[in-house]
Symmetry: C2
Subunit: 178 residues, 2 copies
DNA sequence: ATTCTCCTATCTATCAGTAGGTAGATAAAT
DNA sequence: ATTTATCTACCTACTGATAGATAGGAGAAT
């Protein structure tokens, strides 16, 4: 451990909890206890819970699109495969929900900055997918529908698979996509 | 209002809150305040929160399948249309998430009885859809995939549409289904 | 070199608010 | 008399948040 980097550890712990049980599932005290500091010290790094939630969504989104890469880069078919795989990895490697999927489900009860960051994630997903589909020669209107459909199917597949405790259901649900 | 039927009103209020912000979004105090009784009185009707959560999921599931009807009844194509419309109605009429969709997203943090009732809802969905698809001449293996895909797409479409505050996104996401 | 000042990251201690839950009393209906 | 549905009054636990103290390091001024 070269650098503990407390702020990063806070985000790691909060993300895991949030992706398990939503916005109310992480608390300053629990995070502090897991790191071995006091809850007041967590407030030093993230002044309020909504600031932490917002940072959480922004970091998650950033990491997600870093994995996906440029929508104008690789072959469209390859990019779509990568897109589906990114969701699959979130579910199977981490064993957790998509952070913004959970936040999206409870969006109406989230503090505005967190809701905004969550919306930004989906907007960015729609945009990325629209571009890829257009490169496949799809008309803009169809590309919009196809993009919305893919996001929906993948987020829903994660919920279904986790609810039933059966990761194979994820693959079954998204088999037609890639 | 012939009968206030407190238990039913408790469920109504809890359901609305849960479908907005999840399991932690409803509380005995808030429910009591909205009805005009004391929180202790809510405990009379539902001894614990997990009992209330379980009743919530069971009632929701019951109502849902009452609307859908017998999977061996009407024409398969008509049944599937009805199925998609049922999700659409939950979103557009109530302006709320699917209760079990929200619960599904936070399944790992739910009390076991609530998690069980949530799983039961999805299991029943899978079963209903499998039957309808088989009636369309689909092989069992394909019917399973098609069923999982439909549930996933619809739950995800609700999340996406609500997150973006745009009900049209729901229709866009599920356009290919019906 | 030493001292002064500032910043970082933590601490202790505390607050008001809310959570779910319980015991026991009460009034009305059966 | 018993049951039903409510009440009052309370408990413990936890929430996010704040004020103020502290220790240690970095850089500049003396």
């Amino acid at each position: 451990m070269a650098k503990p980097d407390t702020a990063e550890r806070i985000l790691d712990i909060a993300e895991k909890a949030a992706r398990t049980g939503g916005y109310n599932a992480f608390s300053f005290r629990e995070i502090a206890a897991e790191i071995g500091i006091k809850s007041a010290s967590v407030h030093y790094h993230f002044p309020t819970k909504e600031a932490l939630g917002e940072a959480l969504a922004e970091r998650y989104s950033g990491n997600f699109f870093k994995v996906l890469g440029d929508p104008q880069g690789a072959e469209p078919a390859e990019l779509l495969k990568r897109y589906v795989a990114a969701y699959g990895a979130a579910l199977k490697q981490d064993g957790l929900m998509c952070l913004c999927g959970v936040f999206g489900a409870e969006i109406a009860d989230l503090p505005p900055p967190v809701a905004r960051a969550t919306r930004a994630f989906f907007e960015r997903n729609l945009d990325w997918l629209r571009q890829v589909h257009c490169r496949q020669g799809m008309a803009p209107e169809q590309a919009e529908k196809a993009a919305a459909h893919m996001i929906a199917a993948l987020e829903g597949a994660m919920i279904l698979a986790r609810a039933m405790g059966d990761a194979a259901l994820f693959d079954a649900a998204v088999a037609r996509l890639s």
